[in-house]
C-alpha cells in the first residue's frame, strides 16, 4: 500500500506540473486512469474510470482565467478510490469532486503567494542574473510537485473520510478572501504596464478598449483588430501631415545604427 501510494503520488506530482508546464496532457483522467490502474494492478478498471472522468472534465478547461475543479486530482484520486474501494466510476466522481475543488482553491493561494517573489525576479533581471531567473521557475515547479505529491499521498494512505475532515478544517473566510484577492490581482499587473505605457494623449484608447469590452462584449481578438484599424488610420493621417509639412530631418534623433 505504501509503495502504491508513493508511486501514485509521484505520478500526481509530475501530472500536476504537466497541467501548467509541458502540457503534454498526461495529466488528463483518460491517461491518469491507465497509470493509476496499472500501479494498482487493475488496468481495465482504471481505463473505464479514467474514461468516465475524462468525459466529466471534458469542458473543464482554463478559459479566461477561470479555474475549474482540479482535473489532476479529480482523475487520480477518483480512479484510485474506485479501484481501492471497488466502487462504480460514478461514485468515484462524488468522492473526487470535493478534493478537486479544495485543491483548486489551494492552487489559487499558490498563485497569490507567488506574486511577491516577482520583486526578487525584478532584481535578478536588473542584475542580469540568468541563473536566478531559471531558479525561480524551477522553484515554482518544485512547489507544485511537492503540493500534488502530499495532496495525493495523504488521502490514499489515510482513506477518504479522514482526508475529507482535514479539508473541512480550513476556515472558509480565509479561502474565500484569498480567492477574492487572487481575482483582483491582475489589476496590479495591468497597473505596472500602464506605468510604462501610459501617455495622456493615448488615454482615450484605454477607455475605448474598456468600453468596447464592457458594453459591447467585444472579444479581445476583435478589439485588437479594431485597434489595428485605428492605428493604421492614424498612421496614414500622420504620414500625410508629415509629408505636407517640411521634411522634419528624419524624425528627430532616430538613427538606424548601420
Amino acid at each position: 500500500m505504501l509503495m502504491d501510494a508513493l508511486l501514485i503520488a509521484i505520478f500526481a506530482g509530475i501530472a500536476g506540473i504537466d497541467m501548467f508546464d509541458g502540457l503534454t496532457h498526461i495529466h488528463r483522467p483518460v491517461v491518469a486512469g491507465l497509470v493509476v490502474g496499472w500501479i494498482l494492478g487493475d488496468v481495465r478498471m482504471g481505463l473505464i474510470v479514467g474514461g468516465t472522468l475524462e468525459l466529466v472534465w471534458m469542458g473543464a478547461v482554463p478559459v479566461g482565467g477561470a479555474q475549474p475543479p482540479n482535473v489532476v486530482i479529480g482523475g487520480i484520486i477518483g480512479t484510485a478510490f474506485a479501484i481501492l474501494t471497488k466502487q462504480e466510476a460514478t461514485t468515484a466522481i462524488g468522492v473526487a469532486i470535493p478534493f478537486a475543488v479544495a485543491v483548486q482553491a489551494c492552487i489559487t493561494l499558490l498563485f497569490t503567494f507567488f506574486s511577491p517573489i516577482m520583486s526578487t525576479a525584478d532584481k535578478f533581471a536588473e542584475e542580469r542574473n540568468l541563473k536566478g531567473i531559471a531558479n525561480i521557475n524551477y522553484l515554482g515547479m518544485g512547489i507544485l510537485f511537492v503540493f500534488y505529491f502530499i495532496i495525493t499521498f495523504l488521502p490514499i494512505m489515510l482513506g477518504a473520510e479522514a482526508a475529507q475532515k482535514i479539508v473541512e478544517l480550513l476556515p472558509t473566510w480565509l479561502i474565500n478572501g484569498f480567492g477574492v484577492a487572487g481575482g483582483m490581482m491582475p489589476a496590479i499587473g495591468f497597473a505596472m504596464l500602464l506605468k510604462v505605457m501610459y501617455k495622456k494623449e493615448f488615454a482615450i484608447y484605454l477607455a475605448l478598449g474598456f468600453i468596447l469590452a464592457t458594453y459591447l462584449k467585444v472579444p479581445v481578438l476583435a478589439l485588437a483588430a479594431i485597434a489595428f484599424c485605428i492605428a493604421y488610420f492614424d498612421y496614414t493621417l500622420n504620414k500625410k501631415m508629415d509629408e505636407s509639412t517640411f521634411d522634419n530631418s528624419n524624425g528627430g534623433g532616430y538613427s538606424d545604427g548601420i
Binding site: D122, I136, M184
Partner: protein, 281 residues
C-alpha cells in the same frame, strides 16, 4: 523647453545603447527557446502571470543579442513586466519579439507589440486547443478507454501532441522570419510603429481590465421590505466592470506615488480577507 528635455530623456530611456544589429540568432536558438517555452507557466502568479517564465524562454536570444550589459539588464527588466499569452502559441510571440530585439527596436515598440499579441492569441488558442483539439482527442480517447482499451490514452496523447508539438516547434521559426521581414519594411517608420503599437497596446489593456480583473460585491442589503443587490442593482447600473476599472486605476495611482508591487499585493490581500470576514465580498 522642459517638456522637450523630458521627452528626449524618455526616448533615450526606451532605446538600447548598442544599436548595432548583427544577425546572431540561429535556428538552433529558436529551437532552444521553443524547448524552454514548455516552462512558460512555471512561476505563474496573479501579479505578473507568465512574465518570469516568459523571460526564462527569451534568455537564449537575449543573451546572444545584448552584449552590452546595460542593454541586457534593460531588456530583461522589460520582459519581467506583466505577460499572459496562450501557452500553446507562445513561440509565435517569441519569434516576433526575438526579431525585434535582434534589430534593437525601441523598447516601447517591443512592449507594445508584446501586449498587443497577448489577447488575440489567447482567443485563437482557446478556440483551437480548448474548444476543438482537446474535446475531439479526449472524446476519441475516452470512448476507447471505456471499452477497456489501452489504445484510448495512447491515441489521445498522440492526437493531441502531434498538433501541440508541431505548432510549438514551427511557429517560432515562422514568426521570426515574418518579424525580420516586417521590420525591414517598417524600418523607415519607427516613429509611426511605436505610436501604432501604443494605440494597439493600450486598447487591448483596456479590454483586458474589463475581462481579467475580477472584483464584485455580491452583498445584498435586506431592509425587510425590499432587497438591494449592491452589484447588480447599483454598481452595474452605473457601469458594469466599474470596480475592476477603479481598482486598476487605484493601483496605477499608488505605483505612480512610488509604492512597490509588494505593498499593492498586501493591500489587495487585506481587502480580500477583510471583505470576506465582513461578508461583503
Amino acid at each position: 523647453m522642459e517638456e522637450v528635455i523630458a521627452m528626449e530623456y524618455n526616448e533615450l530611456d526606451s532605446q538600447y545603447e548598442d544599436r548595432s544589429t548583427p544577425k546572431v540568432i540561429t535556428k538552433k536558438d529558436i529551437n532552444k527557446m521553443a524547448f524552454r517555452s514548455f516552462f512558460l507557466q512555471a512561476s505563474f502568479n496573479y501579479e505578473r502571470m507568465q512574465a518570469c517564465g516568459w523571460l526564462y524562454g527569451m534568455i537564449p536570444a537575449l543573451e546572444k543579442i545584448h552584449k552590452n550589459e546595460k542593454d541586457l539588464s534593460k531588456s530583461m527588466k522589460m520582459h519581467m513586466e506583466f505577460f499572459n499569452v496562450h501557452p500553446f502559441l507562445v513561440t509565435f510571440v517569441q519569434g516576433i519579439v526575438t526579431a525585434m530585439e535582434e534589430n534593437k527596436e525601441d523598447l516601447d515598440t517591443i512592449r507594445g507589440i508584446k501586449v498587443a499579441l497577448m489577447g488575440p492569441l489567447g482567443g485563437i488558442g482557446d478556440a483551437l486547443f480548448w474548444f476543438t483539439l482537446l474535446p475531439i482527442a479526449a472524446s476519441i480517447g475516452a470512448s476507447l478507454a471505456l471499452e477497456g482499451s489501452v489504445l484510448g490514452p495512447i491515441i489521445f496523447l498522440l492526437l493531441f501532441n502531434i498538433v501541440h508539438f508541431g505548432l510549438r516547434f514551427t511557429l517560432g521559426h515562422y514568426a521570426y522570419k515574418m518579424g525580420v521581414n516586417a521590420i525591414s519594411k517598417l524600418q523607415a517608420g519607427t516613429k509611426y510603429v511605436t505610436k501604432g503599437s501604443l494605440i494597439l497596446g493600450l486598447t487591448v489593456i483596456g479590454g483586458l481590465i474589463a475581462s481579467y480583473v475580477n472584483f464584485k460585491i455580491p452583498y445584498i442589503i435586506d431592509t425587510g421590505k425590499t432587497t438591494i443587490a449592491i452589484q447588480t442593482d447599483v454598481l452595474d447600473k452605473i457601469m458594469p466592470n466599474l470596480l475592476p476599472l477603479v481598482f486598476t486605476l487605484f493601483m496605477f495611482y499608488l505605483l505612480k506615488k512610488g509604492k512597490t508591487p509588494i505593498t499593492l499585493i498586501m493591500i489587495t490581500l487585506a481587502i480580500g480577507i477583510l471583505g470576506s470576514i465582513l461578508g461583503v465580498l
